[in-house]
């Protein structure tokens, strides 16, 4: 018998969720909703930008969702959820007062600290802006710690853009360069049309002193990271947030493995130097 194991069995069960109550819901786009959740036991959820929770609606299953709120205000848990399947749709359509079940926060975040004293480049595609919003909020809150700040946001169409009001505020600031591009414009769109990589040259980056944080579809991250590396940004200074199937979020269920990496524990945020090879191998 191993006594140390006995000690370990006494801890809280990582697989048992805590109930949270939906306090506010903001409809972002036709399929995406931001939820503000309050823990029933009033114990706030301290997190680092880039971390996620395992969140479920009773009876519908549990899925990993990034925390999209302000890490300086942990009392209210914020998630932006795109309804793509059963679980996410069920979560996205909860109403004020409904209970959701939450475990976490889990995973390794963006490590914004590391970018202190450098230029910060945030590139987001679609729902990818959700895990990056805490980065933007953090950088803006401690703006003096960083050099230049760029935010490049790509969206399929103008009406699919997340957080439009906040984006307006950020655009209004002189200490951050906000650039929004869409794949397909509508009549009222006066901004850019094209992919995010098209926007990189005009930024006039200082490659060696740039920290880039990317999140979006896997191909978009790969193409952007490759473009940045080609510009001379060290791969270790390019961070991407990976997505894999997760049943536990704590490195036990085996589902999120990317060869030797557990995306839930070792990531979801990785330096591009770590995952570049793994991202190019199909079906890994």
């Amino acid at each position: 018998m191993t006594t140390d194991l006995l000690d370990r069995s006494a801890g809280t069960d990582a697989l048992v969720p805590r109930p949270f109550v939906v306090r506010r819901r903001i409809r972002e786009t036709s399929d995406t909703t931001t939820l503000l959740l309050e823990p029933v036991d009033r114990t706030g959820l301290e997190f680092e930008p880039g971390q996620f929770t395992m969140i479920g609606r009773p009876g519908f299953g549990e899925v990993p969702i990034s925390i999209s709120g302000d890490s300086a205000r942990p009392g209210m848990l914020e998630h932006t959820v795109r309804a793509v399947g059963d679980a996410s749709a069920a979560i996205a359509r909860t109403r004020r007062g409904d209970t959701l079940l939450v475990r976490g926060p889990y995973g390794r975040g963006w490590d914004v600290e590391a970018a202190a004293g450098h230029d910060v480049l945030v590139v987001a595609g679609g729902i990818g802006l959700a895990p990056l919003r805490p980065v933007v909020l953090d950088v803006l809150a401690r703006r003096d710690l960083f050099r230049r700040a760029f935010l490049v946001v790509g969206s399929r169409t103008p009406d699919q853009l997340l957080y439009p009001r906040q984006m307006e505020q950020w655009r209004g600031r002189f200490d951050v360069d906000v650039d929004v591009t869409v794949d397909a414009a509508d009549a009222g769109w006066r901004g850019h049309v094209g992919v995010v990589t098209d926007r990189l040259p005009r930024l006039d980056l200082d490659p060696l002193s740039t920290f880039a944080f990317l999140c979006g579809p896997e191909v978009m991250m790969r193409v952007t990271a490759d473009a940045l590396c080609a510009l001379g940004v060290p791969a270790a200074q390019v961070r991407v947030s990976m997505e894999r199937n997760m049943k536990c979020g704590v490195g036990m269920c085996g589902h999120c493995q990317l060869r030797e990496l557990f995306v839930c524990l070792d990531g979801p945020v990785f330096g591009y130097d770590v995952v570049q090879r793994l991202m190019t191998e199909p079906e890994l």
Binding site: F60, A83, D86, A89, A90, A92, R93
Partner: protein, 266 residues
């Protein structure tokens, strides 16, 4: 959200209407619903059983929220009838091998039906039947298919519960082997050389057969992506004849790909 709001309003105002329809079949799958003895009355409280001839003479007019369809299409009349059923059903769920794969009666698809009819009936001219037995999905769009001959009671309840909650039913795609190992059965193929279709059959029965010391005969149909050719190679290597391989693949899901090719799959 917009998509769910009408569903919610509906639920508040009335219970969803459930209809059960029968085509060419043995009634076993419908019976599985009546076999939910512990849940039957609460189920009847949660839904309005609007049409179910095996259980009630009252039939409430459609449209129906959920239609469970048992049986395959073997007559021209039934081919018309299933279209009418589809028209009055919001969600149509097919239940059982007959409805999802044509059933055991689809063995006619491999034979000469007029010869068959005269074998059974003295006056084959009195019998109107199609040359084939085809699954419902070959005639109308189907929202969800529940496999098995017969279907599993637990899976049926799971599907109904999901639909009641406004959720799409989900059944894990995996082989009978996976359930067999979880159950702690001893593999009859490996330990006895008993022919078993478990490695290529969709799970659902709870790996019943191996627990009864016989091989799986595939009544839940082929698992998606199953490698029938490799299993046939093993069965042949164990000394099974092509005829016997054909027989084991050609039972209740005979006309489902890739069971259809039978011993030729190699």
């Amino acid at each position: 959200m917009t998509a769910s709001a009408p569903a919610r309003r509906r639920r508040q105002h009335r219970r969803p209407k459930l209809a059960v329809w029968k085509f060419a079949s043995c009634d076993g799958c419908q019976l599985s619903l009546l076999n939910c003895e512990d849940e039957l009355l609460s189920l009847a409280g949660a839904v309005e059983i609007a049409h179910f001839t095996e259980a009630t003479r009252r039939s409430v007019r459609g449209p129906y929220d959920v239609s469970l369809v048992e049986g395959s299409i073997t007559t021209a009349h039934d081919a018309d009838r299933i279209r009418q059923v589809r028209d009055v059903s919001r969600t149509l769920v097919t239940i059982g091998a007959c409805a999802t794969a044509g059933g055991v009666q689809a063995l006619r698809n491999f034979a000469d039906v007029s010869a068959w009819t005269s074998l059974v009936y003295a006056r084959p001219d009195y019998v109107s039947t199609l040359a084939t037995s085809t699954p419902i999905a070959a005639h109308v769009p189907v929202d969800f298919e529940l496999h098995g001959c017969p279907i599993d009671r637990g899976q049926l309840l799971g599907v109904l519960v999901a639909l009641l909650a406004g959720r799409r039913p989900r059944i894990q795609v995996e082989t009978v082997c996976a359930q067999c190992k979880r159950r702690g059965n001893v593999c009859v193929l490996v330990a006895r050389g008993t022919p078993c279709l478990g490695p290529v059959t969709q799970a659902g029965c709870g790996a019943l057969y191996p627990a009864y010391d016989r091989g799986c005969y595939g009544c839940f149909g082929p698992v998606a992506g199953g490698n029938v050719a490799s299993l046939v190679a093993r069965l042949r290597a164990d000394g099974m004849s092509v005829t016997d391989v054909d027989r084991i693949l050609h039972t209740f899901n005979a006309d489902a790909e890739p069971f259809r090719t039978g011993g030729q799959a190699l």
